[in-house]
Amino acid sequence: MTRLPKIDLVSIEDLELPEIERIFALADGFAAALDRGETLSAANGLVMATLFYEPSTRTRLSFESAMHRLGGAVISSADMNASSAAKGESLADTARIVSAYADLIVLRHPHDGAARVAADYAACPIINAGDGSREHPTQTLCDLFILRRKKGKLKGLTVALCGDLKFGRTVHSLIYALARFGANILAVPTAGMDVPDYVLARLAAERHYSFSTVTMDELKTLAGGLDALYLTPSAPHQMALFTGDVPLDKIPAAEPPASLDAFYVTRLQKERIAATQPRPGEYVRFDARALKGHRAQEAVVMHPLPRTGELAYELDSDPRAVYFEQAAAGVPVRMAIIAWLLEHKRDAHRVSPAAAETARITAEPAPRCANANCITRFEGAYLHPRFKLARAADRGLLALRCDFCERELRVEFVGHARSHRYYRYDENLYGYVHNWIAEGSLAVFDSVKQAEENGYEPYKRGPQREVMNDAEIATAVESLADQVIADVQDLTNVSIVGVVSHGAMLAVRIRDQIAAKSGVRPPAAALDVYNPGATVVALDGGDAFAVQDRALVIVDDVINSGWTVQRAMNALWQRGRPATVKLAVLIDRGHRALPIRPNYVGKSIPTSRTDRVQVRLAPPDSGLKHHAHDRVMIYSMLEAAKSPQDAR
C-alpha cells in the first residue's frame, strides 16, 4: 500500500502557482542541505519505481539520486521496451502492478499521453518524466527553478528561446509555464523549427498570451543595442503575434523587449527528424559574441543538455552560463517534489486543475483521437476516449481536446443520442453540446453518412424531391453491371464489395445482373467502414472473402467527398493487396474532397453542398422484380441557426 497521497504530476498544468512556489522553497532548502553535506531521511522507508520505456540518463539518475539522498529506496526495470510491452502487458496493468510494489512511480514513455493513463490506473502517484512529444514537467520545474534563482523572480522576465522550438517537449512545457508566471517570451527558432501552431493557439485561447518570433540575425541586432526590433512584414509567419480574436495578419507588432534576462538554447532533436527529410536551416550557435550587446549584459544562458555544438565551450567560464547549475538543480528539485508529496496527508483528495473538466463521451460511435502517436491509439482495448471542450477558431466546428495527448479534434456533425437527431455543428449549439456531454448523450460523426448509418435523422429537413424512381434505379444498376462486364478482362477474378448498408444491397443487385448477363457469379461482401475494425462479411455465406490479388469492385450508393471510399480501401488493404480496385456508384453528386474518381457511374446528379441525397432501397428478400419502393430523394438540410449558404 502506498504511503504517499495519490497526487500525480503529469503536466505542469497539474500544479497551481503557489504549489510550484512551495516546491521551489523546498528545493532551496535541499540545495543548501546538499551543500552542507547533510544526511536526510525524509523519505525513509519509501520505495520509488522508475519505469523508463525510452532511454534517458540524466532524468533517471537525478530521480534515483534524489530518492537516495532523501533516504528512500529505488527499484527499476532494466529493459522496459515500448514495443515488447505493446505485445504483452498493457500500460494500465503494468502501472497497477508496479504501484503495489512502490510508493511512487516515475514514468517515461514514447507515446503522447501515456503518463495520464498510468496515473489513472496506478494506486500510487505517477510522476511524468516525459511522454512522447508532450510534456516533461520536472524538467520544466528545474528550468523555472534555476531561472528564478538567478533572477530572483519569474514575472516580467524576458526569456529568449532559441533553436529547435518544434520538437522539444521541454520547451513547450516551459512556454506554458512562463506564460502562467507572466514572463515575456522571445522565440528565436532555427529556420523550419518554429513553435507549432497548436501551442500558439492554446496560449492565445486560454491565456490570451502571445509572443514575438525573431530570427537569429534580428536577435543580434537587438542584442547590439538598437532601440527597435526590426520585423519584416513581408514574412508574416515570422511574427507569431496575435490575440485570440484578431486574425493573424491584422495584429500590430508587439513592442520589442528592452532587455533580455535569459537565453534558453535547445539541442536539435535529431532522433525525432527522419533521415530522409530536407535538412532544417543552419542551427543556432551561441558564443561569446552573441552575449556582447548591452541588452544581454544580464542575460543568463540556459540549455537542457546534452549540447551538440550549439553552445561554444568558451562560454562555460562565463558567469552567465548556468547550464551546469541547471542540470545540477535536477536533484534538489526532484527531492522537493517527493518532499512536497510527503507534506500532504495520505488520504488527501485533490483534483488537479487540469483534470477538473473532462468529459467522457459515451455515445456510439466514439470519436478517435487524431494524433497518430496518442496513447489511445496503442492501448485502445481498454481506454475510453476522453475529451475536453475547447475553443475553436471556426464557428462551424466543435473542438474537442483529447484528455490524454491534448490534440484537438474538430467535429462537423454532432448527434444527440436520445432523440437520434444529428446536426451540422454551429457555435449556437455549444450550450446544448455541453449538456449532452454531461448527460452522456453526445455523439460525433465524420460525415452525414456515418450519422445516418448509425440510425440518426437530420434535425430538420427542407422539402424533398424525387430524382430517381424504381425503374430508373433498375436501369442504372443494369448499366453499372454492363460497364463492369465491358471493362474487366477476366470476370472470374472479380469480387464485389458493397459499403454498408445501401452499397452492400446494390453490390448484390449488380452481382446478380453480372451473373445473369455473363454466367459468371462473382463473390460479394459487405464492408462496414464505420464499425471499429471495419468488418468485411461475405454475402454468400461460407468462405471468407478474399482480397489478395483479386480485381475488386467497390460499390457505394452515393459518392460525395470520397472519404468513405478512402476508408473502404484502407480497410481492404488490412486484409491483403488487391490486384486492382474499381469504384462503382449509383450516384455521383460531386463535391469531391479527395483525388478519387469512380470508374462506373449510374447517374451524375448536380447538387448543392447542403443537399442530402438519400437512397432508399427495398430489402433484398422482397425479390428482384419488386422494387417498387426504391427511390432516390434529395432534400436540403436546414441549419439550426444560419442560412445554408454560410455553411462551410
Binding site: 523549427m193 471510399v565 488493404w573 474518381r597
Partner: protein, 180 residues
C-alpha cells in the same frame, strides 16, 4: 529492338509545368489561407518546394510545405505495414481544416497516392486533399485521379518514366526509358 530513351519534358518544359500547376493551385484556392503543400519523398518533396516558391513569386501566397515518406505504408512489400509510428514525415503544421495539395512526381498505378491518403488521414482531419503530379502516365490500378497534372504521357507497359530533378539528379528532365 528496344526503343531509345527519349526526353518527354526538357528543363524548360518542366519549369513551365511547375509554373502552370502553381498557377492553377492559386486560381482554384481563391486566395484561401488554408492551403498547404505536402510533397511525397523524395522528388515530390522538391516539386512541392518549387511550387511553393512559384506561388510566393507570382501570386504572393505563402504556402507551408511539409513532406511525407510513405515507404512504410506501401503495399509492395518494400516497407513495413502501415504503422504510423514508422511514418517519416515533416509536417510542421496542423492538418485539421487545411486544404492539402499532395505533390508527387509520377502518377501511375495510384498505389502511392492511396498510401499517402491513408497516412494523411491518420495525421489529422484535412478539409480536402488534392493531388498534383508532374506526370500522369495512365494505367491506373485504383480509382485515383489527379487534380493538377503537368503533362499526360503514354508510356508502354514495361517502360519506365524517370523524373530527373536538379536537386537530386543534377538536371531537370522527364525521360521515358527501359526498366532496369
Amino acid at each position: 529492338m528496344t526503343p531509345k530513351p527519349r526526353v518527354v519534358l526538357d528543363a524548360a518544359a518542366l519549369a513551365r509545368s511547375v509554373r502552370r500547376i502553381a498557377h492553377e493551385i492559386a486560381e482554384r484556392s481563391d486566395g484561401a489561407s488554408t492551403v498547404v503543400l505536402v510533397g511525397v519523398v523524395r522528388r515530390g518533396a522538391f516539386l512541392a518546394e518549387r511550387i511553393a516558391a512559384e506561388l510566393a513569386r507570382t501570386s504572393q501566397i505563402q504556402v507551408p510545405v511539409g513532406t511525407l515518406d510513405i515507404s512504410s505504408y506501401r503495399d509492395d512489400g518494400k516497407g513495413a505495414p502501415g504503422d504510423p509510428r514508422l511514418l517519416a514525415r515533416d509536417i510542421p503544421f496542423v492538418l485539421d481544416g487545411k486544404r492539402v495539395v499532395l505533390v508527387d512526381d509520377v502518377l501511375y498505378t495510384g498505389r502511392t497516392v492511396r498510401a499517402a491518403l491513408d497516412a494523411l488521414s491518420d495525421l489529422g482531419r484535412a478539409e480536402s486533399i488534392q493531388l498534383a503530379v508532374l506526370v500522369d502516365r495512365g494505367e491506373r490500378e485504383l480509382p485515383i485521379r489527379a487534380d493538377y497534372v503537368g503533362k499526360n504521357i503514354e508510356a508502354p507497359a514495361g517502360q519506365r518514366v524517370y523524373v530527373r530533378l536538379s536537386e537530386v539528379d543534377g538536371a531537370d528532365a522527364v525521360i521515358i526509358g527501359n526498366g532496369k
